[in-house]
């Protein structure tokens, strides 16, 4: 039985899709069987980030509506043979996602894969609640900035009340993934610091992904950042996050230590 992970945030543009693809690819690089499911019906992006946009034939809605078999809709990654994508529909309405349909698809995926990563749409509506519904583990993607933190807090509240696990009286495992972190700006006070975010959200930290051009570059060439340049700072951070996700205890390092050191100097001079 595979583990179902939801990558969620409440707020848009914080890096859910990037993180879903990067974590999926990182897990698959260790030989585990991974499927990344795009729940953002109508605004699908995961296919682009994973470089599979030209191979989409059927999608999640087709499977739910019974118009295609699950195996027909799954797209295997060209670079990693244990990485799969289940794309969202770009043309259909998100009302086509039915709770029963989603339940069936997730159950089938759990049987066939080690990891099922659900890339949630932004917001707290149907798409987002269905994406988190069957999750065993939630990864809350947050930027070090007040509106993102508050939205994440809202999502954590929903994870504790609207998921199947919560309704059965269990606690869903939640992890914080702090993305687009810029040590210099945090030091300067333009961004929230790691400790501030952790204090507000009070869930364990899975990793800190530095703000980096590598992420944008990887998206543009249609490759998860952990595949595009495995030695880049964000990729290394995602690899570490993956190890923590699998249960390893690693100390969380704030990436770009050199820059943070310089930032301290500049921060003091400016003050």
């Amino acid at each position: 039985m595979g583990k179902v992970i939801v990558v969620t945030s409440g707020k848009g543009g914080v890096g859910k899709t990037t993180s879903s693809a990067a974590l999926g690819a990182a897990l698959a690089q260790n030989g585990e069987k991974v499927v990344v499911v795009d729940f953002d019906v109508g605004l699908r992006n995961l296919d682009l980030v994973m470089g599979a946009e030209r191979r989409v034939v059927y999608d999640l809605v087709n499977v739910i509506q019974g118009e295609a078999k699950l195996t027909q809709a799954l797209i295997r990654d060209k670079r990693l043979e244990s990485l799969y994508l289940l794309p969202a529909s770009q043309t259909r309405d998100k009302d086509n996602l039915t709770p029963e349909g989603v339940e069936k698809v997730i159950a089938a995926l759990k049987n066939a894969f080690d990891w099922v990563i659900c890339d949630s749409p932004a917001g707290i509506e149907r798409g987002a609640t269905l994406a988190m519904r069957h999750a065993d583990v939630a990864i809350v993607v947050t930027n070090p900035e007040v509106s993102s933190v508050r939205d994440s807090d809202r999502i954590i509240g929903l994870l504790d009340s609207k998921t199947l696990k919560a309704e059965n009286g269990e606690r869903i495992e939640k992890h914080l993934l702090l993305t687009r972190y810029d040590a210099v700006r945090a030091e300067r006070g333009d961004m929230l610091k790691v400790d501030d975010v952790l204090e507000i959200l009070s869930i364990p930290l899975l990793g800190i992904i530095p703000e980096s051009m590598d992420v944008l570059r990887a998206s543009n060439v249609g490759a998860p950042v952990t595949l595009a340049d495995g030695r880049s700072a964000p990729a290394l951070a995602y690899f570490e996050a993956t190890r923590r996700l699998k249960g390893e205890t690693l100390p969380v390092t704030i990436p770009g230590d050199k820059r943070s050191f310089l930032g301290k100097i500049f921060g003091r001079k400016a003050a």
Binding site: R150, D153, I156, G157, L158, D160, S202
Partner: protein, 247 residues
């Protein structure tokens, strides 16, 4: 003529308690009425629009005397809505109805007490319908032992709320009694929401967006900046919200 209302809607009967002012007249009535006049003179309209119940328990009077007293009170604009502690022989259809099983409530303050004890204006009773006198009632409390997240609302008009954890920005606690937060308060806390002015708010870290007690509120902008981020308590003094650091 046709009877349209063949199936008339049943008349709704509901019980309800009200707070009334209980007057305990003393013999001789002439003296007591003089003291009442004195009180009324010091505060015009004290009895106006207030429901009054006459407590004649233990008074040795006859029907005519009681009738006279009620008339005298009527003449002073004191409207007697019921009589408590009267033998049934004292009452008639032309008299205010009998009342029983009054429950004592908080004293109603008589306007500026004079040297000579004025009327025993205190001891109001709960009237119609009679409610079985309940012994000491404990106020219930609600304990929430996890953080209250943005968008969540804890609503507990029955009593105190204790949160072990934080109250996030965009979260809301509404309590009939006091609110205790063992963590930072970043959202809204509304204590004494059912009209309890003595309710208070306590928290480990005061960063509230809004605090309210008994309907009086203050937003973050109106709060003293030096209290921000500190352990604090909030209470109501008259119609002003007061806040101070704790410990």
């Amino acid at each position: 003529m046709t009877d349209v209302l063949t199936q008339p809607r049943p008349i709704r009967l509901k019980g309800r308690s009200f707070l009334a002012l209980a007057l305990t007249p003393e013999l001789p009535f002439a003296d007591w009425l003089r003291r009442l006049d004195d009180l009324a003179a010091r505060s015009a309209g004290f009895f106006l629009r207030r429901p009054v119940v006459l407590d004649v328990e233990g008074l040795d009077i006859d029907r005519a005397e009681l009738r006279e007293l009620v008339d005298q009170l009527n003449a002073r604009n004191v409207r007697v809505m019921g009589i408590e502690g009267a033998r049934s022989s004292l009452l008639g259809p032309d008299m205010p109805p009998a009342m029983t099983d009054g429950r004592p409530a908080a004293d109603i303050e008589a306007p500026e007490k004079a040297s000579a004890e004025p009327v025993e204006a205190a001891e109001p009773v709960m009237s119609a319908p009679p409610v079985a006198a309940t012994p000491v009632q404990t106020t219930p409390s609600l304990v929430v032992s996890r953080p209250v997240r943005s968008g969540q609302s804890i609503f507990f008009p029955e009593g105190d709320v204790t949160i072990i954890g934080s109250v996030a920005s965009g979260a809301e606690i509404v309590a009939g009694g006091s609110i205790h937060i063992y963590g930072p308060l970043r959202g809204r806390a509304l204590a004494g929401s059912t009209g309890n002015a003595s309710a208070r708010i306590f928290c480990r870290k005061l960063e509230a967006e809004l605090i309210a007690i008994d309907g009086f509120y203050k937003t973050a902008d109106d709060m003293e900046p030096e209290l921000r981020g500190k352990p604090g308590q909030v209470w109501l003094e008259g119609e002003t919200i007061k806040a101070a650091t704790l410990g």
